[in-house]
């Protein structure tokens, strides 16, 4: 008897609304009825089903090897050296956010709290001279605590970067993450002239924002509102003013605490009210004050996913019925992967993740860490993720060959992971080994934990919505370059 021709390729699957969602290594997906799914599994594929699955590389005998290997290469191996460099300018903050991951409240003011100019300069030199190659565009992001508490060093650093950029034939995007509380006209003018992109936090309407982010002097919400309006006006009027520098649209991040869960629509309305066109709905990371206050402010993954679904559906409702446009940023990143199989270099969703290979974090004392999450760990834990020091003469290879970089890469490579390897969302997902470590004390343990459940829940929502033609069209729009 002749051996039956093998038509199946390696797939993963998940039951979704009565049907089966299947994906393959090349990021293609398809929905199959239970009967078609059985036929596929049994290698008993009808001609009709074959025709349907052929263009998406699900039929082994009809694969275009060149195109598929190129697709795989572009998605997984098109990486460069680290292009995101985060400088922690200040470890303290004038706000006392209930979930602060970096424990940066005004009470936490012991020991060194500010990055010295010498350290900032060394960090910038390090990124320019040792990490980034000629003609490469990269990002330097200033964070804290609250970086504006270290204004003199920030100002010097920005001026230094712009000067160095001209002399070194490199392009730098400068980004500042601030709570806006110390912003004033002079600072704003300096930042705009130096093409600094501003990102702040906005947790929703005044009452909710101020509850999540208490400010030492008055309402943190009022400051955010005032300065978002200022930067938005500048952004919108730049064409009329004929400036010789571009102004970036300000952006904001939403952190969802337990107090936020009842206000999905109000939060989206607040973002629209403040002229924002993106909302990044982020769950709490169980780290820092967030871990400490978990009983008061935390929630289950299921609670968060329900909230996320409400936000997403409200956004879709507004866009389709009211012509009001705002995108959910996390969905946009995932959709880019799902619909275009493009990797938007969002380091937390790469496999392996970008810890130490796509990003580096320079702490106030000049120590270099694999990623933002690592520098937020308790001191005796974070030293495990230290990969260098700007005052030592580390080369790029010294850093990349550190055990912690390798461990992060191994721990976040989904091909290596028992459960992830078999997950239908593997082609689009990524895990943060440091967050897993902080949760389980095991870099390798990501199975069905809080973060995994949230991502699976969000993927489920997106793949259910993608079956609807109207939503599919909206989502396709979200994947364009505006992101």
């Amino acid at each position: 008897m002749l051996k039956k021709e093998e038509n199946r390729v390696f797939i993963n699957w998940r039951k979704l609304e009565g049907d089966y969602l299947i994906t393959n290594d090349f990021g293609f997906f398809e929905y199959l009825s239970p009967s078609d799914f059985n036929k596929y599994q049994e290698n008993n594929i009808s001609e009709k089903l074959k025709e349907k699955l052929k263009p998406k590389a699900f039929i082994r005998t009809c694969l275009d090897f060149d195109a598929l290997s190129k697709r795989y290469n572009n998605y997984y191996f098109n990486r460069s050296n680290p292009l995101l460099h985060i400088l922690v300018l200040n470890s303290t903050c004038n706000e006392n956010c209930i979930y602060c991951q970096s424990r940066a409240s005004y009470e936490n003011n012991i020991g060194i709290s500010k990055m010295k100019w010498e350290t900032a300069k060394k960090s910038i030199d390090f990124s320019f001279d040792k990490v980034v190659f000629p003609n490469q565009q990269f990002t330097i992001e200033f964070q804290g605590g609250e970086p504006l508490l270290n204004w003199e060093v920030l100002k010097k650093a920005i001026t230094y970067i712009r000067g160095k950029e001209n002399n070194n034939n490199k392009k730098v995007k400068i980004s500042l993450v601030t709570n806006m509380s110390l912003m004033d006209n002079d600072k704003a003018d300096f930042l705009l002239r130096n093409k600094v992109s501003i990102c702040t936090s906005l947790d929703g309407p005044k009452k909710l924002h101020d509850k999540n982010r208490p400010y030492i002097n008055n309402s943190s919400y009022e400051e955010v509102k005032k300065w978002l309006s200022f930067f938005n006006k500048k952004y919108n009027s730049q064409d009329n003013e004929q400036l010789d520098y571009p102004i970036y649209k300000p952006s904001a991040l939403l952190t969802v605490s337990r107090y936020s869960l009842n206000y999905p629509q109000e939060i989206v309305d607040e973002y629209l009210e403040q002229g924002l066109d993106n909302i990044f709905v982020r769950p709490l990371s169980i780290i820092g004050y967030s871990a400490k206050n978990w009983n008061e402010i935390g929630y289950t993954a299921e609670d968060f996913v329900k909230f996320y679904e409400k936000v997403l559906k409200y956004i879709l409702y507004l866009q389709i019925n009211k012509k009001k446009y705002i995108r959910e940023k996390f969905a946009s990143i995932l959709l880019k992967k799902i619909l275009k199989f493009e990797s938007p270099n969002y380091v937390d969703l790469c496999s392996p993740c970008g810890a130490g290979t796509m990003q580096m974090v320079y702490d106030i004392d000049g120590k270099i860490y694999t990623c933002d999450e690592a520098r937020m760990l308790e001191p005796n834990e974070k030293k495990k993720f230290q990969i260098g020091n700007v005052f030592a003469s580390n080369s790029l290879s010294d850093i990349i060959e550190q055990d912690s970089v390798k461990a992060c890469a191994m721990g976040s490579n989904l091909e290596n992971r028992f459960v992830c390897f078999r997950c239908v969302y593997k082609p689009y997902c990524g895990i943060c080994p440091v967050l897993n470590y902080s949760l389980t004390k095991n870099i390798d343990n990501s199975m069905n934990n809080f973060y995994c459940e949230i991502k699976k829940g969000i993927f489920d929502i997106l793949f259910k919505l993608l079956r609807n033609k109207t939503y599919y069209e909206v989502f396709k729009e979200w994947t364009d370059e505006r992101n």
């Binding site: 199946r8 390696f10 290594d25 082994r60 694969l63 598929l68 290997s69 000629p134 028992f418 459960v419």
Partner: protein, 149 residues
């Protein structure tokens, strides 16, 4: 211990790696003990939370369902392993890497490269000296010697 959880017995012709994986997927909520008893695999699932009341029939059914799924996945994986390896290798060695290769090396990288080349050359010289098997000689060198004999 068995009274607190369930014991699933499976024939020895089941693949151990499949059983191990399925058992692993239960480790969030259960302690798993795998043993061989009377020529059968014995998988004992004991709830981590001793107070929890489990539906033993449902749990066993769930275990067997996951086992069935994993067997199917393993079968498809096996059938495609060679192809998968080939395509991933092809992707890694992709021809479109030229742009990256044309990148100018920094002086430090050049130095590093030179030192690596020197190191390898020295190692080769050393190796040639110790090459009792003549494996490092070219085809012509070896065969010319034979002919002379």
């Amino acid at each position: 211990m068995e009274n607190n959880g369930i014991v699933v017995l499976l024939n020895r012709d089941e693949k151990a790696e499949i059983i191990k994986y399925v058992a692993y997927t239960f480790t969030n909520g259960f302690y798993v003990f795998i043993d061989i008893k009377n020529n059968k695999y014995s998988i004992n699932l004991v709830p981590k939370n001793g107070n929890i009341i489990i539906n033993k029939i449902k749990l066993e059914k769930e275990f067997l369902l996951r086992l069935k799924e994993e067997k199917k996945r393993y079968e498809i994986y096996k059938a495609n392993k060679g192809l998968r390896d080939f395509l991933i290798k092809k992707a890694i060695l992709g021809e479109d890497k030229q742009e990256n290769n044309e990148r100018v090396l920094t002086p430090e990288e050049e130095k590093e490269l030179e030192s690596i080349i020197k190191e390898v050359e020295n190692e080769l010289k050393l190796y040639k000296k110790k090459d009792f098997t003549n494996i490092s000689k070219t085809w012509e060198e070896t065969h010319a010697q034979k002919r002379r004999k």
